[in-house]
């Protein structure tokens, strides 16, 4: 399969009081058409910044963007603002964490779903667009779509609102769907429903899904491929089974060992990763994880290249 979305050596800096915060440094990631890619990392890893960069929605204090983001050969970083504007929603769509703030409280669901389609289908009238919206609401599992179209966001539950957001994102048949912590605000039973919905939809949807999450469990259940981020770098990436069965980067291993195993005897101390995130203004040389790494040795003062450890599975570690 072709690399559908290719991020090459993407670097992003934010201007802060002390200088430039290097939030992403030489990040490369390819998303193959039709696959679900899980992007995992803790707070400060840069995963949300990467998602925003794909949409051309980096914050106002962005002081430097370098590298390339290619969608089917088109470099999004060199596009003028208007071209990017028409791409957003139509070729790349995003589902945010909090559906309540992403939906406008003073318009009905129907109006918002119609407006979302206007750019892509300028020739269709309101009735035709409402019809499409109703069909999509049924597809995302909302019963009685006609009633939902007439409802305001506050009249729906959290799970229903997130289904509406997914419907809105899919109405323009995007090629890339980005879900940034899309289930984090939901209860666990509803989260499981939404994850199942995304999995079901991905079968019928010929685009790719980038599922950004802090939850290793969710990503392992949903994604075909996984990329693990730490402090602005992708430290390990590969097919989900390969990566979780045989993690090769010490950070991935450490993160997995921090996951609570409820079957383990109570009273055993829980595992943590000592230390904190490195300073991203004055970024230390060498491996970014070295300071907290139990396997550190002299060589780690040089930055490790990303090496193939199994088919399609890469790790940026001298010990991998």
């Amino acid at each position: 399969m072709s690399d559908f979305l290719a991020i090459r050596d993407l670097s992003v800096d934010f201007a802060v009081a002390g200088g430039a915060l290097h939030v992403l440094r030489d990040v490369s990631l390819t998303v193959v058409k039709g696959r679900i890619v899980g992007l995992v990392g803790e707070s400060g890893s840069g995963k949300s910044t990467l998602a925003l960069a794909l949409l051309g929605l980096l914050p106002g204090n962005t002081s430097r963007v370098a590298g390339a983001i290619e969608l089917d050969g088109l470099n999004l970083l060199s596009l003028p603002a208007e071209a990017l504007e028409s791409l957003r929603g139509q070729r790349i769509a995003m589902i945010f964490q909090d559906p309540m703030t992403a939906l406008n409280p003073v318009f009905t669901i129907g109006t918002q779903l119609v407006d979302a389609q206007r750019g892509k289908y300028p020739r269709l009238g309101r009735q035709a667009l409402l019809q499409r919206a109703a069909e999509m609401l049924a597809r995302v599992g909302l019963s009685d779509p006609e009633t939902r179209l007439a409802a305001y966001p506050h009249q729906l539950s959290g799970g229903m609102r997130q289904r509406v957001m997914i419907a809105m994102a899919l109405l323009c048949e995007p090629e890339i769907l980005i879900a940034d912590e899309a289930t984090t605000a939901l209860d666990v039973t509803v989260e499981a429903q939404i994850v199942e919905l995304i999995r079901d939809l991905s079968g019928a949807f010929d685009g790719s899904i980038l599922f950004v999450s802090h939850s290793l469990g969710l990503v392992s259940e949903l994604a075909d491929d996984v990329a693990v981020m730490y402090a602005g770098k992708i430290v390990e990436s590969g097919p989900t089974t390969s990566l979780f069965d045989d993690p090769r980067h010490p950070y991935t291993r450490a993160l997995l060992s921090c996951e609570i195993d409820p079957d383990e005897a109570p009273g055993t101390p829980l595992v943590t990763i000592k230390g904190g995130l490195p300073d991203l203004v004055d970024v230390p040389a060498g491996c970014i994880f070295a300071e907290r790494c139990p396997l550190r040795f002299d060589k780690c003062r040089e930055e490790p290249p990303s090496v193939a450890v199994a088919p399609g599975h890469f790790a940026a570690c001298w010990r991998a």
Partner: protein, 317 residues
Amino acid sequence: MRADSRQVLETSGLHVTFAGGVQAVAGVDLGLAAGETVGLVGESGSGKTTLAKALIGLNRPSAGTVRLDGRDLTALKRADRLWLRRRVQMIFQDPLSSLSPRMRIRKLLAEPLAIHGLDAQHHWPHVQEVTKRLGLAEALLDKYPHQISGGQARRVAIARALATQPTFLIADEPTAGLDVSVQGDLLNLLADLQRQYALGILIVSHNLNVVGRITQRVAILYLGKVMEEGSTRRIFQAPRHPYTFGLLSANPVIDPHRRRARMLLRGEIPSPRNPPSGCRFHTRCPRVQDRCRVEEPQLAGDAEQRYACHFPLESAT
């Protein structure tokens, strides 16, 4: 969940009703003894935070009782309320917003002593010991809340709660918003503090991994009622209530070899304004029968595991 009346915080037939007739807690018996950790699990709207607040006297029961060492809290006079607060402390979900931005950490830690009329000189060494155990450096005490990190703010909130040497600690979502690499630190600390001070800790959480790992007993709440309660190990290994099974099924599992047969629950928790008839869970239950729609099941079983269900799941044994 009962022991003798000393060193026990317990509710009996507790109801908390809000304006408009919303029954947030609808008849709960829950006990917490000194030295044990109990988990309170439920989805948003299950009433778990309302119940937790009733335990520290922040929500008044509309019926039933909350007792501490056998004394009914609703009958307490103002002076006695202070006695309650000294014995039962709570750490809230958002630690930073529970710290006044205008006070230095040192003053925030001394404030509970002043409120309770405790001699500062005499009790300060205890506060210092707790802050040291929590890994809060002396230099940090001179900072303001906005100058410290979220993890540190959480520790300050815990230190503040422990300043008056309480017997019970109610922790509302203590790990919410924490990265997985640091949540273990906080949970290890709570376990340490519990051992050292023989605290009774109630963990209110929707994180099943956390509850499964650090609690001895657990109660699963749905629309203000206990669906299942008892030994955490037993319930997590072999839940009898379909709702418990649904919750555990929804918890993602990393290792594909350990994923078990699942039961995905449909729909969402209904509004407590108008709870379903019969069993409150019947609208989402995959095992629902006619009887469930009309007759409310009562908690039954043994001390290790009690469940309120007409058609429970098979027992493991």
